[in-house]
Symmetry: D2
Subunit: 191 residues, 4 copies
């Protein structure tokens, strides 16, 4: 059974909800764990948490999640990414699998920018990137609420959430997250 | 009165409809012209039409439009872009203004990839890029049909169209195109 | 033994030379074949060669190569990419492995734009992307001629070639191509 | 006389040296000021410095500088970018000019990723992006030390620096930074 870590930052809870869906999907056939990045781990713009990083060293696959803020992963996520530089230098994560997901307020906006960069980050580590292949069920007549991959994303999972506390990723977006988790687990188990 | 050219390729008519809206917006305060790239201009993968290119040399601003096919500007548009290499070499288009728009079937998909590349292409020519600043009127309660910038795009205008012959950009998407044309004309007139 | 196809367009011969190196690397442990895209396959901006595409359907991994022209894959390569849309629609290439390489005149320029887009294209097909993990041997004191990955690329292999007929990728760039071929073959054989 | 702000984060001093060159170029015809982002401005991953932001509100043009860390602007720079969200919401920076520069250890690496994202960020604010049009003087026979734009960048200025305390951007890279500052000032004065 492969080991998967779902590493995310969440500002308002939407990315956390999507992370839980990804983790649920991955847990069906792998040993998957949610790992949340929090502001306290970042001291003057630098991520400091060696224990957190050491757990990631054990993973067969790492799935990254972040809101898209100002056209890119959030600052907290970027500080975490910078904090992996020692692993990059030593090649610790080489050949691990990787995937990603993101949330934002707009239907498209710059979410692709976030996912494409997450892949670039993974390639710096020598990781192998697995995209989202969930069908866009809007094309099959499902509703905006229920359709998987309604935003038609490929590099990773995109979710759009509305303003306000009561909003969450749609059931279709959460299902898309689950499918990504399942897909990554399938490949991780074959390694 | 500044000179604007709206240069586009359209496969099914959607990008053409959006180009017409952009041109209408630009025409309110500038001398704007629609210029369509067609398959016959491309011989064995190379764009051959010196007259077409020479007209662009006269422009103060060029606005580029293409469908997003397979995650990027269409092949025909890319062949046209490659065909501008002599202008690139000579710096003919340096400091002209530039902007862009794209259409595809998905709500997000990889349209940002297309717009971001159009900007990169413009920077190769030393052009100055003007993005889309139309408000996302979904946030103000307008409908998917009527809202400007419902896809929340920044680098250029994104339009999503459904399958089939009878579909067209929404009224809101067309209005967003008009606003881009107006914006570019405003800056071109100040040059 | 896995099946690998190295699909490329080459304008001046540099990308072809790099493609041969990639193919040589892949051939060490897989059945690898070079497949060249030529201008004659493109009719009025559309790629037409069903036989060519059908051979790719058999592959376990496809490695894409293109010059970077005007900040992106060449028009010919983009026309080929557009020509795969039927495979995209049917999911024929889902879960195949993919990788890429590019050449241009500048040391950096916009080569990352090309490689990042190739990956985006692959994700549209549901393919899994394998980057370049060759060490940057400039950091180990090797010369610009001999160092592998002297341009420090991650998403794929970057090669810089000088102007003129007599120029070719450096021995180090060719070696980097070989290493990419070897890496892809290693993963393809494990599938 | 227009007002320009050169806003940067620097880890080891290389980006600072390049920022000074950009500022020197801009100062020839505009009132330009260097503004350094430091770690102390970032509390638990959030940029907190309203006075810093208020100074930027006065600018006609803002030039952004950051190292490329792990394939993107540094975490500190991203936290600053996130900290501008109130300006984004209010459209305070709409139609200001923007430009960018970056440094890293590799000749290419993912520096384009950084510059392309900086432009995306600027488009979110409705800013107008001015790229780097400095000639690549390697093509004219100058040395790696002296040539302007030796990395052949378009979206902004790229500088490559070697390991170690004593290394700095090359004279050619610094000259490229000056030229960017001059170019932005020229456009800012015409506004």
């Amino acid at each position: 059974m492969s080991i998967i870590k779902v590493v995310y930052f969440s500002g308002s809870g939407n990315t956390k909800a999507l992370a839980e869906a990804v983790n649920a999907g991955a847990s069906r056939s792998a040993e998957s764990e949610l790992m949340e990045i929090t502001g306290e781990m970042i001291i003057e713009g630098r991520f400091k948490n060696e224990e957190f990083l050491a757990k990631l060293d054990q993973a067969d696959a790492i799935i990254f999640g972040s809101p898209t803020y100002m056209g890119m992963v959030s600052g907290q996520m970027k500080c975490f990414f910078d904090g992996t530089s020692q692993r990059w230098f030593q090649g610790t994560w080489n050949s691990k699998l990787a995937a990603g997901f993101t949330t934002s307020l707009g239907l498209s906006g710059d979410k692709q920018s976030t996912l494409s960069y997450m892949a670039t980050f993974a390639f710096q580590h020598g990781m192998i990137w697995i995209g989202c292949d969930a069908p866009n069920e809007l094309f099959q007549g499902k509703s905006m609420e229920e359709a998987t991959n309604r935003l038609n994303s490929n590099t990773g999972v995109m979710s759009q959430v509305n303003f306000g506390d009561e909003f969450m990723p749609t059931p279709g977006d959460l299902k898309t997250g689950e499918l990504l988790g399942e897909r990554v687990a399938k490949f991780a188990n074959k390694k």
